[in-house]
């Protein structure tokens, strides 16, 4: 039986010996995700397999970032827990890395889809609870100087029984320092991408995550993506149609952004037209999450204190 040696001289089981793969549950940029059983304890885990030498450049940057960031954040109940990192070998004898996560039985994308298929609305208290947990998890990340940068329903894992929500897939996350540095704007799934990123801003901060949270909030209510563009331009136009075309008055500096052009002029509509099922307090919170000017966008910490959450039992969250 092959065993690996750790730095302290302890022999540890390789991934192959430690886990029994049960089924493939997904596929990411750098490899597959499996549901697996830990042989020693019988505990069900998620194994995220990372191919190390696909591009001959060693361990992928997304894996490095994800693991080093999760080391900091895995303490929080609303961030998926990285339990271990194991090395193994694939059929060709190449080294692969397995990230061992706690197993969650669904994600927010599937959860929303299940309601859409049955034609039911997600109960308002469920939306409130999920939103509070999301804000809490993001506040924790931001409090530790981490931007997620790829928030979307698919990256929010859930436990159906407990309705617990956890932030996952931190492969695009990064630590930020003040003053905010230039970051790549080739990030984030289009539908949840903040306007400053779409307009080519290279200096951005926590506000990009809050925009995504706002889009997810609206999607929980309507069961449809709020801004479903199929290109960067279309995405911007979707946003402008609802929130109005921004100008220097509502967003100082917008016309100086790298990808700013002359766009069709739309006046802002009421958010209630796009998110009809949401109450007044919810609409107020949503409007603060979808502020054009990043510095005016509500923070995750402030969002948790919003009156919308006043009637929520936060004890178990």
């Amino acid at each position: 039986m092959e065993m690996e040696k750790t730095g302290a001289g302890v022999a540890v089981l390789s991934a192959k010996e430690a886990f029994e793969k049960l089924e493939k549950v997904g596929e990411g940029t750098y490899g597959k995700v499996y549901r697996a059983r830990e042989k020693a304890t019988g505990k069900i885990v998620a194994l995220k397999k990372t191919r190390l030498h696909e591009d001959q450049e060693g361990v992928p940057p997304t894996t490095l970032r994800e693991v080093s960031i999760l080391r900091m954040l895995s303490r929080d109940p609303h961030v998926v827990r990285l339990m271990d990192v194991k090395q193994g070998q694939n059929k060709e004898g190449k080294t692969v890395l397995y990230l061992v996560f706690e197993y969650m039985d669904t994600d927010l994308k599937k959860f929303i889809r299940s309601f859409r298929q049955t034609g039911q609305s997600i109960p308002p208290q469920t939306i409130k609870s999920l939103m509070y947990q999301l804000c809490k998890g993001i506040a924790f990340c931001h409090g530790h100087g981490i931007l997620h940068r790829d928030l979307k329903p698919h990256n929010l894992l859930m436990d159906r029984k407990t309705m617990m929500l956890k932030i996952a897939d931190l492969g695009l996350a990064r630590a930020f320092t003040v003053p905010i540095k230039k970051y790549t704007h080739e990030i984030l799934t289009l539908w949840y991408r903040a306007p400053e990123v779409l307009l080519g801003a290279t200096h951005y901060s926590m506000a990009v995550d809050i925009w995504s949270v706002g889009c997810i909030f609206a999607e929980l209510v309507t069961k449809q993506a709020l801004f479903a563009g199929d290109s960067e331009l279309q995405q911007l136009l979707h946003i402008f149609r609802l929130l109005g075309t921004p100008n220097e008055e509502v967003w100082p500096g917008v016309s100086k952004l790298k990808d700013w052009h002359e766009y069709p002029q739309w006046n802002p509509k009421s958010l209630s037209t796009a998110v009809p099922g949401l109450d007044e307090l919810g609409l107020d919170l949503l409007s603060q999450m979808l502020e054009y000017e990043p510095s005016k966008r509500i923070s995750a910490k402030k969002a948790m204190e919003h009156a919308y959450f006043n009637d929520l039992d936060k004890g178990h969250l």
Partner: protein, 372 residues
């Protein structure tokens, strides 16, 4: 104004200290496919007799090899040299006296120094959940005495003075490599700290520091969103270590040397990750230093520049393993003020702003002074 001192051996033929990267074990049969675990399990005695098989390929020493067989023979000749050239200039030589080692890799049975943890970061929520190997990770700092006494290199006969010299040499190498690869200073600094963390857990006798440093910089650049192609890193690293144009190196070494070097660096990358348990986050003192001095209206002064330079110099030391970033920042500001005959005590609450104490201040500034 440069505060650099480069450590070199007097009256010795200098070499790159790069021997172990192409040690004889790997060239016993050029056609042999090495297993990826070879790096981890390789005999610690890097000056293996197999080296004689390759004659001139590895004749890095002009002097008789026996002259360097024990570190004791050269300890007295290590002497501080003052350079007024820019920091870690390219003329820097990387000298390591070869040593005789035991055959047991001490890294595998080293339990690590006792550590002092900084503040309790556990949360009630996490206590209820199953344990993870990464659970409740908090920055662990060690005292200088712990670092000096418990370093795994001690078991292999490398004393504190010599280990300090080795640390300076891989930092010089990293600075040079990072600048040639046009990497920002904070990435170069992070790579240095990762190397310090590595060698607190593993012996210098068992691991070629330049190989580890190359892998650490490659790794850091990726994790900090400034990736450099591995081939570029390898080429540049080889040119620095052999002080020759890359094109000429192909004539010096066996046909597949570059491929083997690439494999070794990728193995070293994985070794660093497992040794450090993926702890790649490094906090630097630059931010607390500038923000506190800014608050006090000292942002556009010579003091800031000097203090920042002192912080950069401090990267060669083990300070990052001992203190929080704001403590190092405070020590650098204190020492810079001393150099400039400024009285920082005139600025009320300055040390409270840095959240530091007189003893920490004294300790940090003293260790920074030792670098000069």
């Amino acid at each position: 104004m440069s505060f650099v001192r480069n450590y070199q051996a007097e009256d010795r033929s200098l070499h790159s200290g790069y021997w172990s990267t192409f040690d004889g074990n790997n060239y016993g049969n050029n056609n042999r496919k090495r297993s990826r675990n070879n790096y981890y399990n390789r005999n610690c005695n890097i000056y293996n007799d197999n080296r004689t098989k390759f004659g001139d390929h590895f004749n890095f020493y002009n002097a008789d090899h026996a002259n360097y067989a024990r570190y004791d023979a050269v300890r007295s000749s290590l002497k501080r040299r003052k350079y007024s050239a820019p920091v870690w200039q390219e003329s820097q030589q990387y000298y390591v006296p070869p040593m005789v080692h035991d055959n047991i890799p001490s890294a595998y049975n080293f339990q690590g120094p006792p550590t002092r943890s900084d503040g309790d970061a556990s949360t009630s929520a996490s206590c209820k959940r199953d344990c993870s190997i990464f659970e409740d990770d908090k920055p662990v700092f060690m005292s200088r005495d712990e670092i000096d006494r418990h370093s795994p290199s001690r078991k292999d006969g490398i004393d504190v003075h010599h280990e300090t010299h080795l640390r300076y040499s891989y930092c010089a190498f990293l600075q040079n490599l990072g600048m040639r690869l046009e990497l920002p200073q904070n990435i170069i600094g992070t790579a240095m700290v990762l190397c310090h963390r590595f060698f607190v857990r593993r012996s210098h006798a068992c691991h070629d520091r330049f190989l580890i440093a190359t892998a650490a910089l490659f790794l850091t650049a990726k994790s900090e969103e400034a990736p450099r192609h591995l081939n570029n890193v390898l080429r540049t690293s080889s040119e620095i270590l052999y002080k020759q144009d890359f094109a000429l190196l192909s004539y010096r070494f066996p046909v597949d040397w570059f491929e083997q070097y690439r494999e070794r660096v990728l193995e070293a990358e994985q070794l660093i990750l497992t040794t450090l348990n993926f702890e790649l986050n490094v906090q630097h003192p630059y931010v607390p230093l500038t923000s506190v001095l800014n608050k006090l209206g000292l942002s556009k002064t010579v003091l800031v520049n000097l203090a920042l330079n002192l912080v950069s110099e401090g990267l060669r030391s083990s300070l990052w393993l001992q203190f929080k970033p704001h403590h190092i920042a405070a020590g650098a500001a204190y020492l810079a003020a001393k150099f400039l005959n400024m009285d920082l005590a005139a600025y009320q609450n300055i040390w409270q702003e840095f959240q530091t104490t007189p003893s920490i201040l004294q300790d940090v500034s003293q260790q920074l002074m030792e670098l000069f």
